[in-house]
Amino acid sequence: MIKFISSSVGKKYLMGLSGLVWAGFIFVHMLGNMTILISPDLYNAYGHAIVSNKPLLFATEAALLGALFVHVICAVLLTKGNQEARKSRYAATPNGAKAPAFASQWMAVHGSIILIFIISHLLTFKYGNYYETTVNGVNMRDLARLIYENFQLPQVVGWYVISLILLGFHLTHGVRSIFQSFGLLHPAYQPVIQKLGVVYAVVVAGGFISQPIFVFFAKSLGS
């Protein structure tokens, strides 16, 4: 098993598996957050329901943290090995039929920015100001207020939109590559898999981006 993990192929399986955990999570996260488009109260109630289920919350957080750790460690090790394998660069870069796909070239770069985004995102919201509100007689955290406060600022909205577009690029390559790394590529499904990566990325990134944009133009709470 140690041999498997230390091999380049084994690390690719770990990258794919940990990436899959996050790709699945962000889809659910995006869908859940759509409640902010409906009403702040519904959003707060949704958030309260999640934090009330302590065992599930803890298990999910542990799985995500573990997967992130594996993903980042493998990425660092693989990138280091890859750079050692190709120390000198070519003077000319190819274009046309033999040029590489754009997203695949910059995985480490947008991956690093996404990591910074995840940390700043948690600091802004999960560990941000604590407001309280009452929905249907239940006392709960008013996360919607914090969201409305932050997404009034153009620089915050801009940072979110840019990070989410990068996340989309990361996903187009990631989702497609999982099938290859896991050995699930098959001639019959290959064209579908190619498109699946793009569709998934557009749905997730587009869904997320709609939220800060909506809040920015919705001006103030309750409007």
Binding site: S7, S8, Y13, A92, A97, P100, M107
Partner: protein, 262 residues
């Protein structure tokens, strides 16, 4: 077909030996027939260099029919030149325009050290083959060709993988200098056929291990390898290699010893 003549400016990587620093040098290829192959164009340039007493440009070549895998270098950053599904010996000068400036570089990968100019040392591939790219057969009379039934699809797929000529374009064009396409083609080629089943697990484990030991990078599935492959080897082989490697890793049996059953 009327023969046209063109003039080219070549920027060629010149390097005396493995330990030396290389540099680009400019050469002029004049009156080159558009019917000539790229290597014939280099031959003409070399003739001129030799007649002037200069050192000719070193490049690997053998069959010049696109089947041996000896030739190959980067033309303007494209492995084997801009044309798809072609080795550089089968690339013809009609694909270039009069007055074009062309940059020639050797394969660049830490596992492929430059021997001289455009020649690189590809023995790392030989060591990968030696680690598991073989099957065991009984010696004696040749078997009847149809003695072993093989489904047509498997035979075709194995044959497609077997067309890999080991030129190294996949490694050269990959940003990670990964040898995944080459190694996986060899694993698929033998693993798809009944003759290759005995060593199937051992082959996947050993060849991947050797590929890593040679210092090749990991596969990021950019697809440049397959795009620049003169034989159009499919990325699906890499998926198959990964699957074989996982299965072999999970089901590896400990060595059996006499008396284990007691």
């Amino acid at each position: 077909m009327s023969e046209n003549k063109i003039n080219l400016t070549l920027k060629v990587w010149r390097q005396k030996g493995q330990k030396d620093d290389g540099q680009f040098k400019e050469y002029h290829a004049n009156d080159i027939s558009t019917d000539a192959s790229f290597l014939e164009m280099l031959d003409a340039v070399n003739e001129e260099l030799i007649s002037k007493g200069d050192d000719p440009i070193a490049f690997d070549h053998d069959c010049r029919e696109g089947i041996c895998g000896s030739c190959g270098f980067m033309i303007d950053g494209n492995a084997h030149g801009p044309q798809k599904s072609t080795t550089v010996c089968q690339l013809h000068m009609r694909h270039f325009k009069n007055g074009d400036s062309v940059t020639l570089e050797p394969w660049r990968a830490s596992s492929f050290p430059v021997i001289k100019d455009l020649m690189v040392d590809r023995t790392a591939f030989d060591r990968i083959i030696r680690s598991g790219g073989y099957i065991s057969v009984n010696t004696g009379n040749a078997q009847d060709g149809n003695a072993l039934p093989i489904p047509k699809q498997d035979a075709d797929e194995a044959f497609n993988a077997a067309t890999c000529i080991g030129c190294g374009a996949c490694v050269a064009s990959c940003k990670n200098a990964s040898a995944a396409l080459f190694t996986s083609a060899k694993i698929s080629h033998l693993g798809l056929l009944p003759q290759g089943q005995v060593e199937k697990d051992k082959r996947a484990l050993r060849m991947v291990e050797q590929m890593d030991a040679e210092g090749f990078g990991a596969c990021t599935s950019t697809g440049t390898c397959s795009a620049s492959c003169p034989k159009d080897i499919s990325l699906i082989n890499i998926a198959k290699m990964n699957k074989d490697f996982l299965k072999a890793s999970l089901t590896k049996k400990p060595e059996a010893h006499a008396g284990d059953g007691v």
